[in-house]
Structure formats: C-alpha cells, structure tokens
Subunit: 142 residues, 2 copies
Amino acid sequence: MGEKLKKIAKNILDHIAIAVPEIEPVLEHYSNMFDAEITPPKVILEQGIRMAYVHFENIKIELIEPLNKKSPVAKFLERNPKGAMHHFCAVTTDAEASAKSVKDNEMRTLGEPGVGHHGQKMFFLHPSDTSNILVEIVESKK
Amino acid sequence: MGEKLKKIAKNILDHIAIAVPEIEPVLEHYSNMFDAEITPPKVILEQGIRMAYVHFENIKIELIEPLNKKSPVAKFLERNPKGAMHHFCAVTTDAEASAKSVKDNEMRTLGEPGVGHHGQKMFFLHPSDTSNILVEIVESKK
C-alpha cells in the first residue's frame, strides 16, 4: 500500500507545539533549563491564542495559550488542564502540492488549507488519518 | 531569578516521544506521509514497552507502545486512549553534571538518573518543575 501513496512533506520538522494554560511560567522554566532563544508571546487574535517560540538549534517549540474559552486550544486544555503537547509540524516546499497529495492518498485535511500568522501557507491533516496525533504541514523554503 | 540558575541541557532536542496504543499503524501512516527512515519496533522489557523511531533529518520521533497494563505508558494511555505526545528529550554532553545542575536549581528528577536502552545516560525532570510537560535529558556527544 505504501508505495502507491504520495509523500506529503519533507522529512524535516519545523516545530512541536505545546498547549499550556499560561505561557510565561513555561518560558521561564525553559529559559532556565536550556540555552535556547525565546520569541516572546504574541497575540494571534484570529486564532484566539497567544503564541511564543523557544528556539532550539534543530527545531522550535511553539507554546500556545488560549485567549478565551471558544478557542479550540481551550477545548484541548479542558481535557489536559495542566497543558500537553498539541501537535507537530513538518515542512513542505509546496503546500498546494502537499494538499493535493493528501487528497490523492484519500486522506483529509482538517478544515481548508490556510495561511499562518507569518504569512506561510499551512494546513492540518485530519487526526483520524494520522493515528490521532495532530500533524501540521507548513510551507517553508528550508 | 533566571541568571542564578544553571543550564541543564544544550539547546538541541534529540526526540519527541508519542505514546500510542499500537505502533504499526502509526509507522505505516508516517512512512506514507514523509520520506523519513524507520527503525522498526523493538521490545524494551525492563521499561514494559515496544519502541520504534521515525528519523526526520533534524529530529527523531520515538513511538512507544505499552507491553502491559502496569507500564507507566499504559497509565498515560488510559487518559489519552487514542495516543498523545508523551515527552520531549533534550541533549546534554554530561548527564551527571546536568543532574547536579537540576539539584543546584532546586529542581527534581523523576526517579533516579538511569541508563537508556542504547546504554546512554538519561533522566527525566519532575513534571511539577517543568510546567507539567515531561522532559527527558539524554547524554549524547552531538
């Protein structure tokens, strides 16, 4: 079965995302524990979240905090009130081609492909097609 | 407060670990979706798990499946029956020095530092000291 399917992304991960009830204490822990640079929290109104990055040499950790109870991240935190890893994100050089491969593989995206808060094209794969671990695909030149 | 504390690890992540009820379907999904190499499942009797790796260029995903209901991973899956991200792992060049920094920072390890299934020195940080996201520290020369 595998050989008939089209690859959806490169084998590079862009980030892992961790949903937390409050970003600042996590940033304080991680800046104490590691040498990693921090991108401070930023409000992303259209997604109903605040977001910060911890830059490791080989990958970023994205911290996400819901702005309100309607945010899908708030629903995730209802099931994991202390916070939990939320998704991982792989890189593609062409998000449209990737989304087409998803359909060709008879897999589904979660909602429509969109544009991330840095302007990059991205989409989520439907968790039912990925053993219930949420996977984001983001377009990146690297 | 930050500047008084000692760094515990380098800013490189070795892997992210995902606990799943059954490894094989996830391996099939991931080998379809990405170009990543796979290390097939291996039984780690002393930890009560099976384990496989998906090798991305910049990081590994470690898939862990409990062998029995006593495994701590089985308890984790009781709360997340379909699987969920379990921990992430950062690299140190000296696990003993890292464990000492943990104590000097008045943080705690989860149990005693030990030896991983590849012979590498490793320990887990106590989740209460890391905003409840489980963090492993592993000794590695890279």
